[in-house]
């Protein structure tokens, strides 16, 4: 190593160090450069498309199970029973947010758009069980019992109606007792925000028992307190 | 295509067929025994110069295994695939890690996940799974274990 190189080495080291220190000093002195956000006090507003916790508006959910099928990690579990109006009644709708990877595929496929992302992202919990979001507050067994009762009532009514029809028109007794779905009752029972698709589906269903409408009316009422909570 | 004909002319029966329908890049199916020879030829021949092995993958074709080599030439910018079919029972084929050093890790991975043995490999150990793992998970008939060292899976 020649003397010139030796001195060059020292000079270069000093110069580059000084350059770097000038930059750090500028940031050190300039208080405006601070970018930290004091998290619990200052909260960043998530963007409009932010994919936070999932929320299912069960009043609109049609239990179509698209979300369950599309979920790559099987974090959504859904149980439903067929109601008196042949529509599915949710018994339970749980999302395990500990397992959810917030990919948003379920929200994309949801036909009635009842499943949405909220802006929630704080997931600190004391127990693992708390990570399961339950959207149907009522006890599953109760719903099942209620629906079963309604179905039974409807069946009884249908049988009655069939009997009456039989009595009225004995000639057509051989015909299987399928009541004609001309009655628009289920349509009236639907809440206003039902999508046309679901409405059409409901109209197609052959059951016309008034019990179905009752169940429809009961459901949103039950969901309301939960929504407020 | 031209490469296939050239290979077939040179190696005869060792080169069985060309898979080019709905397969990109096309595969030349070769026999296991002649693989190192063909590989060396493909790498060294001035018209071929397949100097990089892009990808080496094991495939479980249900009735047999296959090992697929995707080759690329930086000099000529062309591709070819090599495929070797192996029997399900004790599959093994010669290693090519002296032709393309890159093959070593990929062969280890294939050995690990498929149980295909690469003879003459520099260092054929399990790579992704623990040394004492049982079975080869990417086989279609793989049974998921109940537990590992007493830890429930």
């Amino acid at each position: 190593m020649g003397l010139r190189e030796y001195i060059n080495d020292i000079v270069e080291a000093v110069v580059t160090t000084a350059k770097g220190m000038r930059i750090t000093a500028r940031y050190g002195v300039d208080a405006k450069e601070e970018v930290t956000q004091q998290y619990p006090e200052v909260r960043r507003e998530p963007e409009e498309r932010f994919r936070g916790f999932l929320h299912n508006d069960i009043a609109r959910c049609t239990s179509c199970t698209m979300c369950v099928k599309v979920c790559p990690v099987d974090c959504i579990s859904l149980e439903s029973v067929r109601g008196a109006d042949k529509k599915m009644v949710l018994v339970s709708y749980d999302i395990n947010i500990g397992r959810c990877m917030y990919c948003g595929l379920c929200v994309e496929v949801c036909p009635p758009k009842s499943l949405t992302h909220t802006a929630g992202y704080e997931k600190a919990m004391f127990e693992r069980g708390e990570m399961i979001l339950r959207f149907v507050q009522e006890d599953g067994a109760e719903i099942k019992a209620r629906v079963a009762k309604q179905v039974a009532e409807a069946a009884a009514k249908a049988a009655e109606a069939a009997k009456a029809a039989e009595a009225a028109k004995p000639a057509e007794a051989a015909n299987p007792a399928v009541p004609q779905p001309a009655n628009p009752a289920p349509k009236e029972g639907l809440s206003a925000d039902k999508t046309a698709e679901a409405a059409a589906k409901a109209a197609d269903s052959s059951a016309v028992a008034p019990g179905g409408a009752k169940a429809e009316a009961a459901k949103p009422a039950k969901a309301d307190p939960e929504k407020k909570a | 295509m031209a490469i296939f004909e050239l290979l077939q002319g040179k190696f005869g029966d060792a080169v069985a067929e060309l898979q080019s329908e709905a397969v990109r890049p096309p595969f030349v199916v070769v026999s296991a025994a002649s693989l190192p020879e063909i590989a060396r030829f493909l790498r060294d021949d001035p018209a071929m110069k397949f100097d990089s092995l892009m990808c080496l993958s094991g495939v479980d074709c249900k009735d047999r295994f296959a090992v697929a080599y995707h080759l690329h030439s930086l000099a000529h910018r062309h591709y070819i695939g090599l495929k070797v079919f192996l029997p399900r029972e004790s599959p093994s084929l010669p290693s090519v890690d002296d032709v393309w050093p890159a093959a070593n890790f990929m062969e280890r991975e294939t050995f690990d996940l498929f149980g295909i043995v690469f003879e003459g490999s520099k260092d054929l150990r399990r790579i992704l799974l623990p040394e004492d793992w049982e079975g080869h998970p990417l086989r279609k008939d793989y049974k998921y274990p109940e537990s590992y060292h007493g830890v429930k899976l």
Binding site: R51 | H70, M106, L129
Partner: protein
């Protein structure tokens, strides 16, 4: 008279570096055999993060696999997303609307910048200078904000779809991108002044772990690691896909400016220069982006015809290749993921012979490996 070296008995030391170690970038374990500070042999042991993505790929549909590609390389989720989408589109022969392609290129390049920023930042932190790391995080945060705007998540984007992207760019996104580019470009010079050409930093990197061009090709290195050895090969240029042919940029290669061609410093500088090129690409893409739909019509029950495809694209850590074998059902019959970091680890043992312990850290940093990509 016995010479003192004969009388002294020295022993090799076996040190376990990792899987918990501050600078192995995750759960990489390196078994070091050292003679004092000099490494006799460094054997990487990987697999601590093996999640069986390839097996998962056989179980889920093509669309469902998209979120898993985020987990392939979590610092470059967009690139992996797009790579998967391109691969499946190539398999099924789907035409993608041009706007979607532009969007993909924009998000990919933004992601490349943010990924290289982390590479730069964590590398300098490994070298002992912690401050540049926080500067790079600061810039990356802006990119994350942009991504949150466009797809709703900051790290695992799941933005691309087979046939396009999940949603059009939101209002004001392009303006904010331009703003970011104007803000970011001068910062690269600042990094160079702060650390890149710092004497100590240069000394730590120059002439360390030199990989010749021949070795780099033979060992299958790709991406910046390959270009660091002076091989001018960039998939965006040499095997153009998407709208890259319409965009002008240079392929950055190592020059050996401070040491030998192919040393750690070259690999580092390639990344720094690539950020500039990404800015260049982004400026053009933002200016050129056409109006139109962002997703092609793809049936919900997507079943590509039986066939095999190998598609590779240029990700920040080298080429990410998907070898998909379709048997005509909704799921791939075999999915092989070839990642840059995995193949790069192959050369690790060879290049680290005779280096110092501190150099091991430099080599890991200069390869810019990421463990989920290695272990998949």
């Amino acid at each position: 008279m016995t010479r003192p070296t004969e009388a002294l008995h020295t022993q090799e030391m076996l040190i376990n570096m990792g899987p918990q170690h501050p600078s192995t970038h995750g759960v990489l374990r390196v078994l070091l055999r050292t003679d004092g500070e000099v490494v006799v042999n460094a054997r990487p042991d990987i697999g601590y993060l093996h999640r069986g993505l390839e097996k998962i790929g056989e179980r889920v549909t093509y669309a469902q696999f998209m979120p898993f590609t985020d987990r392939l390389d979590y610092l470059a989720g967009m690139n992996c997303n797009c790579a998967w989408a391109w691969a499946v589109e190539k398999l099924a022969g789907i035409e993608v609307p041009e706007r979607a392609e532009y969007i993909r290129v924009i998000v990919s390049e933004l992601n490349r910048i943010s990924s290289h920023l982390i590479a730069f930042g964590s590398f300098t932190a490994d070298m002992g200078a912690f401050t540049p790391f926080l500067y790079s995080i600061r810039e990356r945060e802006v990119v994350n904000d942009l991504f949150e705007m466009v797809c709703g998540n900051r790290l695992t984007y799941n933005y691309a779809r087979v046939g396009g992207v999940s949603a059009d760019l939101p209002q004001g996104f392009l303006e904010k991108t331009k703003e970011f580019l104007d803000y970011f470009e001068p910062k690269i010079d600042e990094y160079n002044n702060l650390i890149s050409y710092n004497k100590i930093f240069v000394h730590r990197l120059a002439n360390v772990a030199v990989i010749s061009a021949k070795d780099a090709v033979g060992y299958g290195l790709t991406g910046p690691n390959l270009r660091g050895s002076g091989v001018k090969f960039d998939l965006r240029k040499d095997e153009p896909y998407s709208v890259y042919p319409k965009l002008e940029f240079d392929v950055c290669v190592g020059t050996g400016e401070r040491g030998v061609l192919g040393d750690c410093f070259d690999r580092y500088m390639v990344r720094i220069n690539e950020m500039r090129q990404s800015v260049r690409i982004l400026r053009q893409a933002v200016a050129q982006i056409p109006e139109g739909p962002v997703i092609a019509k793809v049936p919900r029950l997507f079943k590509p015809a039986a066939g095999e495809v190998y598609f590779r694209s240029e990700c920040p850590r080298g080429e990410t290749g998907f070898y998909i074998i379709s048997d005509g059902t909704t799921n791939p019959s075999r999915l092989k993921i070839r990642t840059g970091s995995f193949v790069t680890m192959n050369i690790f043992e060879t290049v680290t012979k005779g280096l110092m312990i501190a150099d091991i850290v430099a080599v890991i940093g200069s390869f810019d490996i990421i463990l989920p990509e290695i272990d998949r």
